[in-house]
């Protein structure tokens, strides 16, 4: 398997992760680990996961997102998922799976706004 890595970008005291690729087991674990490490090193207050390029979110991906949300929360930061597509949201509702360990915002901009409000 190709050695992939999902970039984590820091904007002020937030970490931004844009998911553009297929999340498989290995990659998801690596991502979770590196996000936690970066939160520790940078003392980030928020982590934003952009999933606008993800066209299908199944129960497995949901679990990965929830796991990342939980681990970020354990480290005292807040996790936002942004860019969930309407069809994806509808599908998640019908499937009865919950994204309950993360916060959501429509866009990256709105997530940043909410995070700033939290800090003031």
């Amino acid at each position: 398997m190709k050695d992939q890595q999902i970039p984590i970008i820091q904007i002020r005291n937030c970490l931004l992760v844009s998911i553009q690729t297929e999340l498989h087991d290995r990659l998801a674990l690596d991502l979770q680990e590196s996000i936690m490490e970066r939160v520790r090193v940078t003392d980030a207050k928020g982590v934003i996961l952009d999933v606008s390029a993800v066209e299908v979110i199944d129960s497995y991906i949901t679990r990965i997102l929830n796991d990342i949300g939980k681990s970020v929360r354990f480290m005292g930061a807040v996790c936002y998922i942004v860019g969930i597509r309407p069809a994806v949201a509808m599908t998640l509702i019908e499937m009865g799976v919950e994204l309950d360990s993360v916060n959501t915002a429509l866009t990256l901009d709105l997530a940043l706004e909410k995070l700033e409000l939290l800090q003031s």
Binding site: D25, A53, E55, I57, D58, Y60, T91, V97
Partner: protein, 227 residues
């Protein structure tokens, strides 16, 4: 003779710049110059996997539609569409206009199956939302195969009443006690949420499960088209 580059270039123009297109075709190598009707099924998979990644990365919007159009252009229903034509030749033409059987053996096959299912759903005219549901259900089923059985197949059948999906494997099967836990929602797997089958059942219009320890598992489900 229309080449892959001709067909795909036409679809991508207006959305993806010429320079970016150039680099996408470079990555396809000799396949880019191959006439569309001389592609083998394996070639088609390779081209689509590459295109899916690139289009997702570069297209600002509508990447799903673009990917589906690309799949169509590459002959899912074209005159030389290998699998579709073969399905029609062997099957009852009225019941199954076309059928496609996809091998599922490793994690990357999950993405391929999902994409194929998506483009098939779009092709037979299911709505955009339904197509996403189809892709999600296939994703769940393919993941189950890879995680629990190791290998199996997913068959997509375009029927007059909608799209039928048959996921089948010769894996360990599911014991009745475990099945009860799954339907009750109390089962928790190591790798997933233990919710895959429940999720699929909720998404589809018709659902049928045939499994027993040692006999493998077959899930058959149907998405109806909207009237």
């Amino acid at each position: 003779m229309r080449t892959v580059e001709n067909e795909i270039g036409e679809i991508l123009s207006g959305t993806i710049s010429a320079i970016t297109q150039r680099s996408i075709f470079n990555r396809l190598g000799p396949l880019a110059g191959r006439p569309v009707n001389q592609l083998s099924n394996a070639d088609r998979m390779t081209v689509m996997a590459e295109l899916e990644n690139s289009v997702r990365l570069f297209a600002r919007r509508n990447s799903a539609e673009l990917i589906a159009s690309c799949a169509r252009a590459l002959g899912a229903d074209g005159p030389a569409g290998g699998t579709a034509a073969a399905g029609a030749a062997t099957g009852n033409a009225a019941a199954a206009a076309s059928a496609k059987k996809l091998p599922i053996e490793q994690e990357k096959d999950i993405a391929t199956a999902r994409l194929e299912a998506w483009s098939e759903a779009v092709r037979i005219g299911l709505s955009k939302f339904t197509s996403v549901k189809v892709a999600t259900a296939v994703s769940e089923l393919a993941r189950n195969i890879v995680f629990y059985a190791g290998k199996g197949t997913i068959e997509l059948r375009a029927m007059s009443q909608g799209l039928q999906i048959i996921a089948s494997d010769q894996g360990p099967g599911i014991a009745p006690a475990k099945l009860e836990e799954i339907w009750a929602g109390t089962y928790k797997s190591q790798r997933g949420m233990g919710k895959g089958l429940v999720a699929v059942k909720k998404l589809v219009d018709e659902f049928q499960l045939d499994t027993a320890p040692g006999r493998g598992t077959t899930v058959s489900c149907l998405f109806r088209g909207e009237r």
